[in-house]
C-alpha cells in the first residue's frame, strides 16, 4: 500500500486516496477482507489529518467498497468488479465530455478535436 499524495493538486486529498484504493481493488492488489491501514496510521504516513483519511474511508464505505468495523478496522468489501469498471467508465466519460465541450466552446471543429485526441492516444 503505497499512496502518492499531491497536496498542491486541485484534486482533494481524500479523493486522491479514494481513487488509488479503487484502482488497487480493481487491479486485485486489494482483495475481499483485506484490511486497510488504520486511519491514524495512514494519516501519519501521509502526513495529513486523520479526518481527511476518515473522509476517504467514509466515502468508500458509502459506495460499498469497504466495510468499517468499530474498534477493529476498515476492510475491503466483497466488490462487484464489473460495477466498479462501469463506474470508472462513467467517470472517464464525464472527463472526456468536459474536454469536448471545452473544445467546442473554443470554436474548434469536431474533426480537429478528434485529430488531437488520436494524436495523444497514439503518441
Amino acid at each position: 500500500m503505497n499512496f502518492i499524495i499531491n497536496t498542491s493538486s486541485m484534486i482533494p486529498i481524500y479523493e486522491q486516496i479514494v481513487d488509488q484504493i479503487k484502482v488497487c481493488i480493481r487491479d486485485g492488489k486489494l482483495k475481499e477482507n483485506d484490511i486497510l491501514p488504520s486511519v491514524r496510521t495512514l494519516s501519519k504516513e501521509l502526513k495529513i489529518s486523520a479526518l481527511t483519511v476518515k473522509k476517504a474511508y467514509d466515502s468508500l464505505e458509502s459506495e460499498g467498497f469497504v466495510i468499517t468495523v468499530h474498534g477493529k478496522g476498515t476492510y475491503i468489501a466483497a466488490t462487484n468488479k464489473e460495477l466498479l469498471l462501469e463506474e470508472q467508465k462513467k467517470e472517464l466519460e464525464k472527463d472526456l465530455d468536459l474536454a469536448i465541450q471545452k473544445g467546442r466552446r473554443y470554436g474548434i471543429h469536431d474533426d480537429d478535436i478528434r485529430e488531437l485526441f488520436e494524436l495523444i492516444l497514439e503518441g
Copy 2:
C-alpha cells in the same frame, strides 16, 4: 455580443464568459480597441452577479486579452489570434491527455477509450 450562460453547468459562470469572449476575439467578432459591455450592463443582461462579470474581465486582463481603463470601460487588447488558437489547443490537449491518462490508470483499453470518445463526440 450574445452570451449563453448555463448556470447549472459544472463550468463556473465566469469561465463561460471568458471562453466566449476568447472565441469572439479569435473569430474576429471582437477586434482591437472594441469596447466590452460594462460590468453592470452585462450582469443585468445575463441576470448574474456583477462580481462574476468583474471576475471574468479581470481574468481576461491578467491574460492580456483586454485592458480596463478606470472610469471608461474594458477594451480588447492587441492580440495575436494565431497564438490564441494555439493556446486554446494546448489547453484542450492537456484536458484530453489527463482524461486518457485516467482511463489508462483505471486499466481501460485504448480501444474502449476511443469508442467512448467517439460516442460522446457523435452523440
Copy 3:
C-alpha cells in the same frame, strides 16, 4: 426551520439534523427548491461546529434529498416522498427488531413483549 439539538444524546448531532430535515421534507414543511440555512448560519444558530452541519448536509446530498450549489447554498431536491416513507419505515423496523431481540435475549416471552408494546402504544 427550528431545530432541536440534544448534545448529550447518544445520537450524533449531524444525524439529529439529518432526521429533522427528513421529517420536514416528508411533512411538506420543506419543498423542492427551498433553500436550507447556510452551513455557517445554522452552525451559529445551533452553537455547533460548521463541519457538523456540513456533514449533515453532505449526508442528505448523498442520499439525494438536497442539492448543494457551490457559492450559492443547499437546496431541497425533487424528492420521492414514497421512497422517503419506505426508508423511514425500514429504520423503524430495525429499531423494533433490535428491541424485540433484546427482549428475547432477556428471556422475556413474546406475549410479554407484545403486552408491553401495546401498553406503551396505547398509554
Copy 4:
C-alpha cells in the same frame, strides 16, 4: 455455560455476554457463589479478545451481579431475581418507547407501527 456470540451483530460483544449472564442468573442457571469461566478461558472459547470479556465482567460487577476476587475468579453475587426481571423489562420498555416515538416523529400511524411490530415478532 454456552454463550452465543454474533460478531457481526450491531450489539457490542461485551453486551451480548452481559445479557446472557443476566439471563442465566434470572433463570437460575447461575446461582450465588457460582464461579464464572475465567477471562482467558472464555476469551479462547469465544475466540474474542480477553479485554472484551473483562469489560463484560467489569460491567456486571459495577451493576452488582458478580464479585471479582483478585487471583481467584469471578463469582455470582447474591441477587434479587425479581428485581433483575423488572430492570430488564424497564430497559426493553425504554427501547420500545424510543422506537414508537421515532415512528410517530416520522408521522407513521400507530396502526402501521403495530402492524410492523407484529410482522417482526411473528416473522
